[in-house]
Amino acid sequence: MSLTTTRRSIRRAGVPYAFLAPGLLLFTLFLAAPIGYAGYLSLRKVKVSGLGLGSKSRTEVWAGLSNYARSMTDPEWLPSVYRILGYGLIVVPAMLGLALLMALLLDANRTRPALSGFARISIFLPYAVPAVVASLLWGFLYLPRVSPFGYALGKLGIGTPELLSSSWVLYAVANVAVWGGTGFNMIVLYTALKSVPTSLYESARIDGASELAIAWRIKIPIVLPSLIMTFVFSMIATLQVFAEPMTLKPLSNTISFTWTPLMKVYRDAFVRNDIHSAAATSVVIALATFLLSFGFLKLVGRRAFDQEDS
């Protein structure tokens, strides 16, 4: 009897591992191993001898940290880091502010399903559009000669703004990201709002609180945990911004190959065929992402990632 109990409990102890096994196996193969491999590649480099034209004239050798040193001292590296900081300062507040505003408005209009349904679907729609296609569409809208706005402004006798010129390009790229991301964040915040029992507002309303005051004092505090999570995911997306500027690049003189850190990775890997430098820069970006997101979560008390059975 006791034997079977022990056996059973041993078997039971293996259960969570059995459930995790397939996921972990694939995780190891397709995420952990490639990341490890990237780490390995970042410590290697290709060494060419002489003219490098004969067959077998190149060998792979250990590079130590020289790829990292070269990446970080590239004169274009720091500007690209500052650029995405500026970009993040535009995108994250604009996108989350807009998402919160729309979520609150949807919530306030719960009694008008036609309006809120239409608005919800419309605002969520951009989520269905791949970043590459979204940037392509906005690209057409930005170019004065092919844009409907350019046409309309031209008819009004107003000069058409060059949205991809150096003074506007950051906003132009940010707009594509805001357009694509607002809907998703709105849905997250709206879901949080919906989980609040209306009775909570009713009493406030009876006490004479304005809608604005209810939103500010009751609703926003309730969605704060969700807001924190959307903030973290938006921040990660900002650090990794790539597809939008990459697609808009050929349309303008103002977006360089190293416009964002991830574009530099792309340039090194795909344009310069130097995967070792690309791997080194990738590792730095990944580390920065980890530090920032875990650091931030620690700062706000690990509210979201840490939650257990509720």
């Binding site: 003219l51 490098g52 000669r145 003189n253 190959f257 190293t258 344009v271």
Partner: protein
């Protein structure tokens, strides 16, 4: 739960079946490795309708079957090839390779030397094109397919209205650009495109530059030489004056400008009619082709923009058959006819003149189109490409993008030092021996 799992399993099974068929398709190649059997070759190309050209080979060569895998363009194809080389598998047998990428590909050990298999092809091609696939040595890394001698295209109606003639020299071009823009501030004779390093290199080539070179056992890099300085200063001056535009080519904006008559000229290459056909549709019949404006009208010269060879990759298990195919593709009269007529390329082979008798449709009225092109082809100056062309070109994009945006001639000429440094640093870092 059964309800949910059933379709899942069904789709999984479907996927498995799907993939098995997909895999077995590529297995044919491995199976046919033995001699005497049917050989299957894969061919990466981005030229339009190349599959139709290859049908001409497949129908007459039952033992060697070639399948075309259409690529997005020269850069993505090279990226994929180099990744496959690095991985040790996944490369095609045959590959379209732009001339400027050949040293890069050789340096990555991506191309097979087919000198022993190709037979005597040398005499069928112009010396300059042949030099691009041999790099002046004994090895042969491909067979030239098409070439892109620079030519000048302009709206003859606009020139006539302004009392202008096709510019003979770059001074004429500058004067024409100024006059046209003055008469109609919306019109430009051209644009300086920081996105097209290939065109700029062609212009530098015309002026006598050669950005790379080989001196004994070391490379030389000469991006910032007097000839290139002259070209950069010239275009920077035009942009600073505002008489030509500073926006990149090949954008919807630029296409619209060609079509609505805001761009009334294009310094381009022999393949331009195919592009204009699409982008400047509504101005058909108003364009004319001319020889390039010259720095020195007494000794006319030109450069190249575009052009590519067909190469056998180092991973091909059938280099002999592949070499046979590319020799046919680029020198057989029947193939040349298909290349010119179906794939719209300007074949590099000497024999091409015999198949290029009627002018391209967009220039139907200009019977001497291919005479001008052939003349230009002969005047191309020698130019050597190095093993890191992409580094120089991407540095060009970034540096000249800034310069064009600033509209300052000094920024144009200063950009060259930036490109020179980026190119040399990269080569030294990789371990290439660089002189100077």
């Amino acid at each position: 739960m059964k309800k949910t799992l059933a379709p899942l399993l069904a789709s999984l099974t479907a996927a498995a079946l799907f993939t098995t068929t997909a895999c077995s398709g590529s297995d044919d190649k491995a199976d046919s490795a033995g001699g005497g059997e049917k050989v299957a070759l894969t061919y990466w190309s981005w030229a339009p309708n190349m599959d139709k050209v290859v049908e001409g080979w497949n129908s007459t060569h039952p033992d060697i079957h070639v399948t075309v895998n259409k690529q997005d363009g020269g850069d993505p194809a090279v990226t994929k090839l180099l990744t496959a080389i690095k991985a040790g598998s996944g490369a095609p047998d045959v590959m379209q390779a732009e001339y400027q990428k050949i040293p890069t590909l050789i340096s990555a050990d991506a191309l097979a030397d087919i000198s022993s298999q190709a037979g005597s092809l040398k005499d069928k091609f112009p010396a300059a094109a042949w030099n691009s696939v041999t790099l002046g040595g004994d090895a042969l890394y491909g067979v030239p397919q098409d070439s892109g001698p620079l030519m000048f295209f302009y709206r003859s109606d606009v020139f006539e209205k302004n009392g202008l003639q096709a510019p003979k020299t770059w001074d004429d071009y500058a004067a024409a650009a100024e006059k046209i823009h003055k008469t109609n501030p919306k019109q430009y004779l051209g644009t300086f495109s920081a996105a097209d390093a290939g065109l700029f290199v062609g212009l530098a080539q015309q002026a006598g530059a050669s950005w790379w070179g080989v001196q004994g056992d070391s490379w030389t890099v000469d991006v910032n030489d007097a000839a290139t300085q002259k070209v950069a200063g010239y275009w920077g001056g035009l942009v600073e004056k505002g008489v030509i535009d500073n926006k990149p080519m090949y954008t919807p904006e630029w296409n619209a400008a060609l079509n609505d008559g805001s761009q009334v000229g294009w310094v381009s290459a022999v393949w331009a009619p195919g592009v204009l056909e699409g982008s400047a549709k509504e101005t058909k019949g108003k364009w004319k082709a001319a020889s390039m404006p010259q720095w020195d009208a007494a000794s006319p010269a030109t450069g190249n923009w575009g052009g590519s060879a067909t190469s056998v990759t180092s991973q091909s298990k059938h280099p002999k058959e592949a070499a046979e195919f590319i020799a046919w593709l680029n020198s057989d009269p029947a193939a040349l006819k298909l290349l010119a007529g179906t794939a719209n390329v300007y074949p590099a082979a000497n024999d091409a003149t015999s198949v290029l008798t009627t002018p391209p449709a967009f220039f139907a009225g200009q019977s001497d189109f291919y005479t001008i092109a052939a003349e230009a082809g002969k005047q191309a100056r020698p130019f050597t490409y190095g093993p890191n062309v992409n580094v120089a070109y991407s540095a060009f994009n970034d540096a000249f993008g800034k310069a064009a945006e600033s509209k300052k001639a000094s920024a144009f000429t200063e950009s060259l030092a930036t490109i020179q440094k980026a190119t040399v640093d990269d080569m030294k870092n990789s371990g290439f021996t660089v002189a100077g």
